[in-house]
Amino acid sequence: MSWYSDLPQFYQNQIREMGLDDAGMTRRRLLKSAGAAAGVAAMSGLTFGKPARAAGQMSYMCWEGYNDPRIIDPFKAANDVDIAFDLIVDSPGGFAKLQAGASREVDLVSSDMPWVTRMGPAGLAMELNPDDYADVYATFYDQFKPPFEPLISDGKTIGVATRWGWVGGCINTDITDPDTWRSYDPVFDAKNKDKICVMDWGDWPILPMALHAGIDPYQELDAAQLEEIRKVLRAMFKNTRTLVADLTQAQKGLLDGSLLGCIGAGSYLTSAVRKQGHKNIIATVPDPKNGLKQGIIWVEATAIVKETDQPELAQKLLKHVVSKDAGHVLSLLDTTCNVVTNKAVEELYSDEEKSILQTDYMWHAWDNSQMHRIAPQIDEMLAIWQEELAAAQ
């Protein structure tokens, strides 16, 4: 017997397929998520009031993977708590949802670092005292130990970094010599027409192109620089075969050779295919161009929501997520594999797992990359992107 056993068979199958049963969904929790939905409605000016919450219940907004039962089940058992998940598919969307009222339901958030950092000024995150986390920071890579500047807003620490990776060029070494991708030039090479894949993930494909044009997109830009970005995007679209939002489509294209290179993504895209044994698919970072680093480092971080009614439990869960065992699981999921911030996890990696994660390359990538933040003029850049995309027809 389970919470859904009295539903029609069709829905039971659906629930099993979606893995909702594994996540330990309960009917109570279902009601709780209904409460969250009501929270969204609150943004339209209607206030339903805070729905009553059962004790021993938590809500976790995160990317898929953080909800892996191998991570969550031990925590649930140890703390006698149920956890409901609010899976996000894009960071701005998750942030918008929090702002729209989901912050009253959610206890913990794991999202892209810029968006986690933004929770500070937006009044959504609880300030962390790094001293409280000394135990977890102890085994972190030095790069992520406090003070970790990108996660500090107004002098306050907003969250703890969890998982990271790099964005550059994704290629198939059976087809392409990695050395030809020491810059983004192949993206614009006329002989690669209809061979380039661009990830349709908001700002991600724009930023590397701006860097290639010699512009640091994380600075305030003038009209002339924006015009340069327009030009480089226009040139990029000339060779673009497809814009994809779906990882598997890009992975498949790289494998069968219909796509020569993918931009706007990196280790996040290639690692799952490497885990399946295709070590010929790699994520590279181009060399610095005129002193401007061309790669981008993305970091995911976890923060506690200010309005949580269970701060201790939330803190416990945060520490659990970055722990050695949880970190091992988190870095080697089926959908994507990425290195984590806890150095201790390295001890658990087999050689095969190190190869999957390209650990021998990761600090090279780090050294040749910008740290990802929210670009100040991202609105303008996205507008230019859309205009050029429409014109590219």
Binding site: A96, R241, T242, L243, K252, D256, I374, Q386, A391
Partner: protein, 290 residues
Amino acid sequence: MSGEIDRSWRDPELLAKALPSVILQTGFFLAPLLMTMALTFQRTKNFQLTWTWSLETWTDIFTKPHYWTILGHTLFMAITCVVLCLLIAFPVAYALATRLRAYQNHVKVLITFAFLTDATLKTFGWVLFLDKNGAANYIARLTGFEGDAVNILFTDWATMLGMVYNLLSFAIFTIYLSIDAIDRSLILAAYDAGASKFRAFWEVTLPLARPGIWAASVLIFLLAVGVFLEPKVLGGGKSPMSAELIRQTFETRVNWPLGAALTLVLMVVAVFIVLLFNRIYSLKRHMGPI
């Protein structure tokens, strides 16, 4: 027919009965629409909505041609889709209603299954079919073509293929119902009056199936205008259509005012086109009841 409608408008009892439905319609259709409209006058900065009344979004829409390029492309694709769906669906529906009566129950079940199958599934199925190493190229190679002979994936052709494929069953069903409703003796009467098979089809079947063809056209057009899966998955996202632009604006750019404004523009243009066609249709149509 028209007389009955006129009378119903003045029947207070009937109006009273319609009231709950009118209130629901207002509540669930008009109110969100008004909110959408209000949203278009707001601004957004750094992925955040700020409530300041401004005409910025509308100025943007009316000064940047690329929104209209995408809208134009969307309408072109939608109208092409309508034409293709009608060209394919009419013979199929006609055959179903006249020639294949013995099998029509089986075919109807199959079409219903096509209806029920998730469009996402079917669309990704086409990707696998049209892929470099997909079934289409496999067959092409077997029949002696070199390399990837079928190379339409990530083009407008693939988008159109997916759209027609996903929307065709709506057209077949709608037209089938209208042809099936035609009294067989009308066709016999045409033969009896001296009409050839083609003439009977042209003078009787086609005009009487017109309401069905018209309904299918409107249905397909409105569905095609709202298509986003096919251009994204089969078209490779390179030539987005309006619905995808709206989705991107809302989700990727988190620009709600712009998304809301684009939604309204698309709605108004689509409704305008339907009304325009409706006018042409009713002018062409005889004034009598059908």
